[in-house]
Symmetry: none
Subunit: 224 residues, 2 copies
DNA sequence: TGACTTTTTCATGATTTTTTCATCTAGGAC
DNA sequence: GTCCTAGATGAAAAAATCATGAAAAAGTCA
């Protein structure tokens, strides 16, 4: 199985310092898709609706250690999301508290941007194992979930079977016969354009179109 | 249904300072299986014959940056091994060099033993979460309690088993077979729509509906 | 035992998916 | 330009699947 790992990640930055926030966004946007939130509340909302690969979290949001509270939520919602805490207080005790709250890393402010990027990459590498990233699509093999642009997509049975069949070999063009053999008990029973319609229904559920039509041959899942 | 997280890792420590080496071994041995090597050569031999979960690597083995050389070898041999580099030189440039060589973390000497342990734990924590916060729901896996909007919800045994099974992987769609296998001694004994009814009874007890029906496939716990 | 709760079964109506089919559209060949 | 073809699309029919209420069966506990 050929799998294409496109290392563009979706990252959430929760940081109340506006200047720092936009600086980080600018710096990382060249490599990844960045969302930002200025408060924990805003951050939690985003975590509920998008799938992130990493979270960069300011520990000292609005005084107390509010920031830490989001970590367990995030980790269970999104098992493949790495968490980096940033904080001005870099003592050993604080680092330990951060890590035991569930974070994967702890960076002291001020930090070097290149180091931040390296640490992000290191974490992402570690988490990327059971996930196929294809452009804006994230296919979690283990949990059999698909998310596109961070949104979790629920497919019906036929849609699911067809989509994951195409995903088994990204970029390969499958004929309608290939597909019918894969997703039907009795492939000969279907005489109409059923497969075209299933394809269409999948497309209707996605915000982008990752399925390429190859005229005269069939369909392929492509990198979007 | 009880879930136990007993995560004992096999860790290799490569460190030429004998005193530090045995100190580390003593400190970590309570939690993990520890192998030690005093030289790079010795370390490479061990890497060739055992599967490690983590490598603690002294950067400054025998003068030059010999330590780094082992990382690509290791990563090739054991793709799921995390690497933590330790070094007396803690400047940003060195940290970046270490991380870009493939390490997952970088610790400056001298480091606090508790912090080292925390960082090691962070590497495996993704397998051992105990509290799930999902929107208005709080699911405590360890104590097996569920509360919604602050209120503790009491579920009957079957309801409880089914709910916590779904909660073990939020967003994953479980088939009725998956569920039956998880919550029944003899899954084949049930011929009717028992599971549907249990689902319905759970829904009746909750003020919100966190269970998504995916027609033709099964059920999934979703974020509410 | 008897009152009570939980679990399972079943029949029915509601809903969604799946399939079919007729019609549209875009692009290539002529 | 027209003709032709493969695919896209919308809508309706057919099939599959699920939710629900109610009742029987099994289990719990004083």
């Amino acid at each position: 199985m050929e799998i294409h790992y496109n290392m563009c990640m979706r990252i959430l930055i929760i940081e109340d310092d506006l200047k720092l926030r936009s600086m980080l966004k600018d710096a990382l946007e060249a490599f990844h898709t960045i969302d930002t939130a200025g408060s924990l509340k805003e951050g939690i909302e985003l975590v509920g609706s998008y799938a992130y690969n990493a979270l960069l979290l300011d520990r000292n949001l609005s005084g107390a250690d509010e920031g830490m509270k989001i970590i367990p939520t995030l980790k269970k919602l999104q098992s493949s999301c790495a968490v980096i805490i940033t904080s001005a207080y870099g003592g050993v005790e604080e680092r330990i508290a951060g890590l035991s709250a569930g974070a994967d890393d702890y960076l002291e402010k001020p930090y070097d941007l290149r180091e931040l990027k390296m640490r992000l990459d290191a974490l992402i590498r570690r988490y990327a194992r059971d996930t196929i990233m294809m452009g804006e699509m994230q296919i979690d093999i283990k949990n059999e979930t698909l998310s596109v642009q961070g949104e979790i997509i629920l497919l019906s049975k036929k849609e699911h079977d067809l989509f994951f069949f195409l995903a088994s070999k990204p970029d390969k063009v499958f004929t309608r016969d290939d597909i019918a053999n894969a997703i039907y008990e009795d492939p000969s029973s279907t005489t109409s354009n059923t497969i075209d319609v299933v394809i269409r229904n999948i497309r209707k559920k996605l915000p982008i179109d990752p399925i390429e039509t190859v005229k005269g041959r069939g369909y392929a899942l492509k990198n979007v």
